[in-house]
């Protein structure tokens, strides 16, 4: 009796999961593995249910398909990579270039590039890459999109509040590690600095996964980029010791280069797959 109740519950749960996510494997497996269920729900009856769920799910996937074009052409990665490179170069510009009026202008150029890289690349992706090849398409910003934006903004603000004290501490010349470093003649990263640089890698890697959520199944080589973005900042921090602000530019430069390279390869792949369409009367 108990087994029957458990089985009934498992059947209900598998059916519910199938309707929600479209994954009908569990439902099929459960029916095949349990002769009792097979007798009560012969395959002839369970198959149409599974087919109906799968068909309904497939329709939903078709309706989500146009969105893929906006994220699979690599322009988002190129934009983010360019922004990261410019951010790192602006740090280098202020330390490497000799003091002159040009130093400020070069720094300003990189700063403006950081701000404009992403919006420009998103515009270019839509107008210059997708539209001439696939056609014009505009997306609805539904509840899910706004919810995603609010969650992302919430995480960013929370992280900023969490990291600001660490950053102020790392930047402070009176911090114990900085005093010790000054005495020793070189900067030794504190635990907080190491934590921040590892967090930098983690955030970069999560963002990379978000950019490539759709295309990473097709481009397996992107996992290598993911690992590099995740693991290299702490390694760079180890090779280039200092406080967070000294370790950050080379790490950002490296991450930006990986983003840019990955985006460029994806863009070339996209352009080779989708050819320009000649405009014609409709």
């Amino acid at each position: 009796m108990k087994n029957r109740i458990v089985l009934q519950f498992q059947l209900w749960r598998a059916a519910r999961r199938a309707v929600r996510s479209g994954q009908t494997d569990d439902l099929r497996k459960l029916v095949e593995e349990n002769p009792e269920l097979k007798e009560r729900l012969p395959v002839g009856r369970i198959e149409p249910v599974v087919k109906g769920i799968e068909e309904s799910r497939r329709l939903l996937q078709i309706s989500q398909r146009p969105r893929q074009y906006a994220v699979t052409n690599g322009m988002g990665e190129i934009g983010w990579g360019t922004a990261m490179l410019c951010f790192a170069l602006s740090s280098y510009a202020s330390t490497i270039l000799p003091a002159s009026p040009w130093r400020g202008r070069v720094g300003m150029f990189f700063f403006v590039s950081v701000c404009l890289a992403m919006p420009f690349c998103l515009w270019a992706s839509k107008r210059l890459v997708v539209q001439p090849r696939i056609g014009y398409v505009a997306f609805r910003r539904d509840k899910t999109w706004w919810l995603g934006m609010v969650v992302a903004a919430g995480i960013s603000i929370a992280l900023s509040f969490w990291l600001i004290p660490e950053m102020i501490h790392a930047a402070s010349p009176s911090a114990p590690h900085a005093v010790a470093a000054a005495a020793a003649g070189h900067a030794e990263p504190s635990r907080g600095d190491r934590l921040l640089i590892a967090g930098n890698g983690l955030m970069g890697a999560i963002l990379y996964l978000m950019f490539n959520a759709v295309s990473i199944r097709e481009h397996r080589w992107k996992w290598l980029c993911f690992i590099l973005i995740l693991a290299m900042p702490p390694v760079i921090g180890h090779l280039h010791p200092g406080n967070f602000f000294e370790m950050s530019p080379p790490a950002t430069l490296f991450q930006g280069s990986v983003y840019l390279l990955s985006g460029a390869i994806t863009l070339v792949w996209f352009l080779r797959l989708h050819h320009l369409i000649a405009p014609a009367a409709e």
Partner: protein
């Protein structure tokens, strides 16, 4: 009548045709798109696509707007509120029917 059979008979026939189902499913995911986009996605020919769109427009499911992009003509297509509801009902109907 058996409940499953009734659910099958209640499926919206305007949407049920594969070509139109493809069009409605694609339009359901976007705010608006042009004729060329649907042509690329559905791989239908221009005549077929136009005829399906005309039927969907007649049913009140699709809104068609003729405009220009620069000097080139452009046909913008949107799913109406009734179209969105019909698509959702069709999806639910599929679950009930099979």
């Amino acid at each position: 009548m058996n409940e499953q059979l009734r659910a099958i008979s209640e499926l919206d026939r305007v949407i049920h045709e594969p070509g139109r189902l493809m069009i409605v499913a694609l339009l359901a995911g976007v705010k608006e798109c042009d004729f060329q986009f649907l042509l690329t996605e559905t791989k239908l020919n221009k005549g077929n696509l136009s005829s399906h769109l005309a039927k969907l427009e007649a049913a009140g499911y699709v809104e068609i707007e003729k405009t220009y992009r620069g000097k080139l003509p452009m046909t913008l297509l949107r799913l109406t509120r009734a179209g969105h509801k019909a698509f959702e009902d069709y999806r639910k109907g599929l679950l009930a029917a099979f």
